[in-house]
């Protein structure tokens, strides 16, 4: 388990520390120049260094995805545990999950962020969490139902423990394996939604200097300098692969 995490940890450290490297994007060079002296991967649509862009373009994207993963998993674990203890809460989660199927997350997030100008990053976070929780809570509930049926939970409830205490002390610690898997899954799902939104370029939200925007902006010059799109696309792919090998995570787990 721990050895599997090493490549992921190394990659995260690289993405986090790379912006500190003394490589400047520069400006004023020829757009889409071939790799050569001073520009190991050539230049992008605005004549900036591609390598420097790739070094700087990951931190915000990964931070937002990690925040989404953390918030969605925590909220879902609480709601899922509550639903396992109270049937009515369970039915509410089912209904919400059924309703949210009708609006795909990417479209829903676009709609919220567009209708909330100036909402910026908080609006994006709120919308992604809103569209991520119903499904994840459903998964958490089925895991929590098994825990809720155990003797110690029933004993705690029968002895008059409050619901909050039963969830915090008896249930959540026993959901740890599911929590770790869901954390990985929610991270990839969060990265998927956030990078799609960035790629479609919503004005004012993640609209410059990240891998997704680099792919979009440099696509027209793909014939001139393929590295301008290959580098950021490869960075996203590497992240996805390492999260899978590190946390055993897939975007979803049927």
């Amino acid at each position: 388990m721990k050895r599997r995490l090493v490549p992921l940890a190394a990659w995260v450290a690289l993405v986090a520390l790379a912006p500190l490297l003394p490589i400047t994007a520069g400006e004023g060079a020829m757009p889409f120049a071939d790799p050569g002296a001073g520009h190991p991967l050539g230049t992008d649509a605005l004549g900036r260094d591609v390598l420097a862009g790739a070094f700087e373009g990951g931190l915000l994207l990964l931070t937002v995805a990690a925040a989404i993963a953390l918030i969605v998993t925590t909220l879902s674990a609480l709601l899922g545990s509550l639903a396992a203890l109270h049937r009515r809460a369970g039915r509410a989660i089912d209904a919400a999950a059924d309703a949210f199927i009708l609006v795909p997350p990417v479209i829903g997030v676009l709609l919220v962020v567009l209708a909330w100008p100036g909402g910026g990053l908080p609006a994006l976070l709120a919308a992604t969490v809103l569209f991520g929780v119903p499904y994840c809570a459903k998964v958490m509930r089925s895991a929590a139902s098994a825990v809720a049926a155990t003797g110690y939970v029933e004993a705690a409830r029968a002895s008059g423990e409050s619901t909050a205490r039963v969830i915090a002390v008896e249930m959540l610690p026993n959901l740890a394996p599911t929590l770790v898997t869901q954390l990985g899954l929610r991270f990839t799902e969060g990265l998927y939604v956030v990078s799609a939104v960035a790629f479609l370029r919503l004005p004012g939200v993640l609209d410059e200097g990240n891998w997704a925007v680099m792919v979009r902006d440099n696509a027209p010059g793909m014939l001139l300098n393929p590295w301008a799109v290959a580098a950021p696309a490869a960075c996203l792919l590497i992240t996805v692969i390492l999260v899978h090998t590190g946390l055993g995570a897939r975007r979803e787990e049927p």
Partner: protein
């Protein structure tokens, strides 16, 4: 039949609730669509006049009822700029349905074949490769996969066109232009569906009556077609139906990447022009298609489980 009608009523009711929620949310969030579309330089009087001409000064329930009755009659309303959305959509809807329809067929066939091979030899090299391969493909954003496909097949190998070129008659210059968009959109969804299919087949194959049929000497082919697949069908159909929504959302990204002339580009365009009303109507259209798919899945489930309850 009664069960089917009941399921249909629930789906329709849920759609109505979701449409109301989407409409109300777009209205309640702090942005003013008219102001956004007209820009900061427009005078307050101009904004007010535009709002009045679009009927946006009326109370929310009246506007929603109007919009909904238009929707029922196939009229998606007008954008903030006053253009009828139906005119904007034009051929784009057909183009998007062509792209997503082909991708859906691709996913259906590939995922069934892949899952069948995987189920036959779960522990072999193929099974292990599939386990890792599908989970990485599932998590890969369409535009990343699309970009890498273009780099390999268009740039390095020179086999397929990298972008979509439309002829004077509005049709694609060559059907080959659909190959990369379908692959970019289809492969992640096919990987997801393969995992669902494999799990559903494994679950059905573990049922006691399937084991019994094998022990009774029923031929393997008959066991699969008569006992395993009907049991797995409801899960497979339900997953395919819920996939329709993410397929449409993925089409927005893929159409933008490949410059494909579909309705997804309209969604991307509505972001640029900050046109909330356009996006709300297109979201409603998406919800409508997903509900239709879910109703078909409901029918398949009830048909597959007939007499088994």
């Amino acid at each position: 039949m009664i069960r089917f009608l009941a399921a249909l009523a629930v789906r329709a009711g849920l759609l109505l609730v979701v449409l109301a929620a989407v409409y109300a949310a777009a209205d309640a969030l702090p942005g003013d669509p008219v102001r956004l579309a007209m820009g900061p330089t427009a005078s307050p009087a101009d904004v007010e006049a535009r709002r009045e001409s679009l009927g946006l000064d009326r109370p929310l329930p009246a506007r929603f009822a109007d919009w909904l009755s238009g929707l029922v009659q196939g009229d998606l309303g007008t954008t903030v700029r006053g253009q009828p959305i139906n005119d904007l959509l034009g051929d784009r809807l057909a183009s998007t349905l062509l792209l997503t329809g082909l991708t859906f067929a691709f996913v259906l066939v590939v995922a069934l074949a892949w899952a069948a091979l995987w189920s036959a030899r779960p522990r072999g090299r193929f099974g292990r490769t599939s386990a890792v391969g599908t989970s990485i493909l599932v998590a890969t954003p369409e535009f990343v996969l699309g970009t890498l496909l273009v780099l390999v097949f268009a740039l390095v190998l020179g086999l397929l066109p990298a972008t979509t070129v439309v002829g004077a008659d509005g049709r694609l210059a060559t059907p080959l232009m659909l190959v990369l968009p379908v692959l970019a959109l289809g492969l992640p969804h096919a990987a997801w569906q393969t995992r669902v299919n494999r799990a559903a087949i494994a679950e059905a194959a573990a049922m006691p009556h399937v084991e019994q049929a094998r022990l009774d000497g029923v031929p393997e082919r008959r066991v699969v077609t008569r006992h395993v697949l009907p049991l797995a069908a409801p899960t497979i159909a339900a997953s395919l139906a819920t996939m329709v929504g993410t397929l449409l959302a993925g089409a927005v990204v893929v159409e933008t990447l490949f410059n494909y002339p579909g309705a997804g580009q309209l969604v991307a365009g509505s972001l640029e022009s900050r046109d909330t009303t356009l996006l709300v109507s297109l979201t409603a259209l998406c919800g409508l298609v997903v509900v239709a798919a879910l109703v078909i899945a409901d029918a398949i489930r009830l048909w597959a489980l007939r007499g088994r309850r």
